[in-house]
Amino acid sequence: MTKMTYRDALRSALRQALRSDPRVFVMGEDVGRYGGSFKVTYGLLEEFGPERVRDTPLSESTFLGAGIGAAIGGMRPIVEIMTVNFSLLALDQIVNNAATLRHMSGGQLSVPLVVRMATGGGRQLAAQHSHSLEGWFAHIPGIKIVTPAVPADARGLLLAALGDPDPVFVFEHATLYPMEGEVDEEAGPARIGEALVRRSGDAVTLITYGGSLGKTLQAADQLAVDGIEAEVIDLRSLRPLDIATVLASVAKTHRAVIVDEGWRMVSLAAEVSAQIMEGGFYSLDAPVARVCSTEVPMPYAKHMEDAALPQAATIRETVTEMLRAHG
């Protein structure tokens, strides 16, 4: 095991893939000379050259579509879209092509494409640079969505994405890049579609993913001081969604709170809540609760942004109130 940052763990997976598979190449805005806007691809241009680490024009739709074409043409492209905010310019290629080509061709094609992008708020970047839209993408059959929350998963889920025959979108919460953690560089890929219990408890199940895992674990530690032991589930993959792990936990704790940085309305949290209702209704001692972002375009001012995003304090208050009302 090696201690490394989330950013370095991603680079470790990229480097391993580029070294071991000549079909793999990386393309995106500023992934080469600049070294990656989040420094994930730093040094790869020098090591692997401009044919395999390709700086693209600011044409998100076209370089993502070119990734689809290259994937069906026998390559294993890794497309970096700088942030989810810019992926909106490529939505047509994602929704109408990447997700459909296999099915629409009657199974003649697979699209082994990996798309990486930063997501999330919390950096005072205001309304156009703070989106947390992975829940939207999880709506679409034909693609897979993974959300590594710790460095080991950054490496393991990216390797899994590379080994997958279908399009996999890796959402990297932008606040996580400097996060340090233990990573086994000898470990193989993680399994896509497998949630993990990050903390055991019996009083309530806290379900989260990506950038909200840290806040949720922090809230769980604070609740433990109050004598409330929360179980924390890291979904890791939003599509496929490992609802079995969630339901098994809810069967034990009888309470569920979902923490999701997406807006509350029509959110991933809403989907998880619905699936708990469908599969675990009779286990529940309290209505499912959600801690999501406030329904507002992200404000710039720090105190306002903090108020808009899920925080450890709001998670803790939600649990405390749930236990008070439905203890």
């Binding site: 074409g69 290259a70 994937a71």
Partner: protein, 330 residues
């Protein structure tokens, strides 16, 4: 615009083959329209009638190593590429023996074995895929050109400009084939483009371009061959504008309020099939019995296609979610 070039080696057999392909497309689509009116074919049906010289001429420049990306008006390209007419008719029926197993319909013909990478129904959406296929060829040092068909409407889309730029920047082997039929659905070219000379768009991205009379199959063939040769020499992409006209409505649902009947009639006077028959007759390469023989053989092929579609099985509903994802390897 390219003046008509002499086609080296144009012999009777080749001329008859071109004519047969155009007539096959025409009769196949007339049958499809008929089957649409009786409900055998549903959804959207966009006919290519009038534009046959474009697909047939351009396809002559491509080999089996080349890849093709087409639009939702792709029956002509599919037939000219050699996809069996029966598999196309069955696809429009929604049958399991269709070329896309009934999952695509008229707008989404695929045959990966023939490197026919689809009918794409979002205008402009196929161009980036063509760029990517060409990138894959280049990175794998495969010889091959990716031919990307799209209409004048696609020129309005950002992806047209982005794709020309990226393909030129990376010197990728893409043959961009703009089928300019003067209408983006119902909006005339003069009403959707500030610069209606489409080949001039290429100047901005520093790639070579040409325009050709898309109603003349020999001119299309010669221009496409020259363009494909330029791409094969490794210089990067080429934009070829094929000036043509669709005789039928945009789709079966279109009452054609946006164009004058007189305009359609004027273009029908340039019918690519009639014009080619006349030209071959003048050159002494074709006689009336040849046309009869082609019509007879095409009619039989279209009948066979309908029979194949009628006899095809429906995919069981239990398979509904098959091929959303690739099955795990055992």
């Amino acid at each position: 615009m390219t003046a008509e070039r002499a086609v080296p080696g144009l012999d009777r057999d080749h001329a008859l083959a071109l004519l047969r392909q155009m007539i096959l497309i025409r009769r196949f689509e007339e049958k499809a329209a008929e089957l649409y009116t009786v409900g055998k074919i549903r959804g959207f049906l966009h006919l290519y009638i009038g534009e046959e010289a474009v697909a047939v001429g351009a396809m002559q420049a491509l080999t089996s190593d080349d890849s093709i990306v087409a639009t939702y008006r792709e029956h002509g390209q599919a037939l000219a590429r050699g996809l069996p007419a029966g598999s196309l008719m069955a696809e429009m029926y929604g049958k399991a023996n269709g070329c896309s197993r009934g999952r695509g319909g008229s707008m989404h013909f695929f045959d990966v074995s023939r490197r026919f990478y689809g009918g794409h129904a979002i205008v402009g959406g196929g161009l980036p895929i063509a760029v990517g296929l060409a990138l894959a060829d280049k990175l794998q040092a495969r010889a091959g050109v990716t031919a990307c068909f799209f209409g004048d409407g696609a020129v309005d889309e950002g992806e047209f400009h982005e794709s020309l730029n990226l393909a030129a920047l990376w010197k990728l082997p893409v043959l961009f084939l703009c089928e300019n039929n003067l209408y983006a659905m119902g909006t005339a070219l003069t009403r959707h483009q500030s610069q209606i000379d489409i080949r001039r768009k290429a100047e901005a991205y520093d790639l070579p371009a040409d325009a050709v009379d898309g109603m003349d199959v020999l001119a299309v063939e010669a221009s496409a061959q020259a363009a494909a040769d330029a791409v094969r020499r490794g210089g990067g992409p080429f934009l070829l504008e094929l000036r043509t006209y669709r005789f039928r409505a945009h789709s079966m649902a279109d009452p054609e309020l946006y164009r004058e009947k007189r305009e359609v009639e004027e273009w029908k006077a340039c019918d690519p099939i009639a014009a080619f028959v006349a030209k071959l007759g003048e050159r002494g390469l074709l006689g009336a019995p040849d046309v009869v023989a082609i019509e007879t053989s095409v009619a039989a092929e279209v009948e066979d296609a309908v029979r194949f579609a009628e006899a095809g099985p429906w995919e069981p509903v239990e398979d509904l979610t098959k091929d959303v994802y690739t099955p795990a390897e055992p």
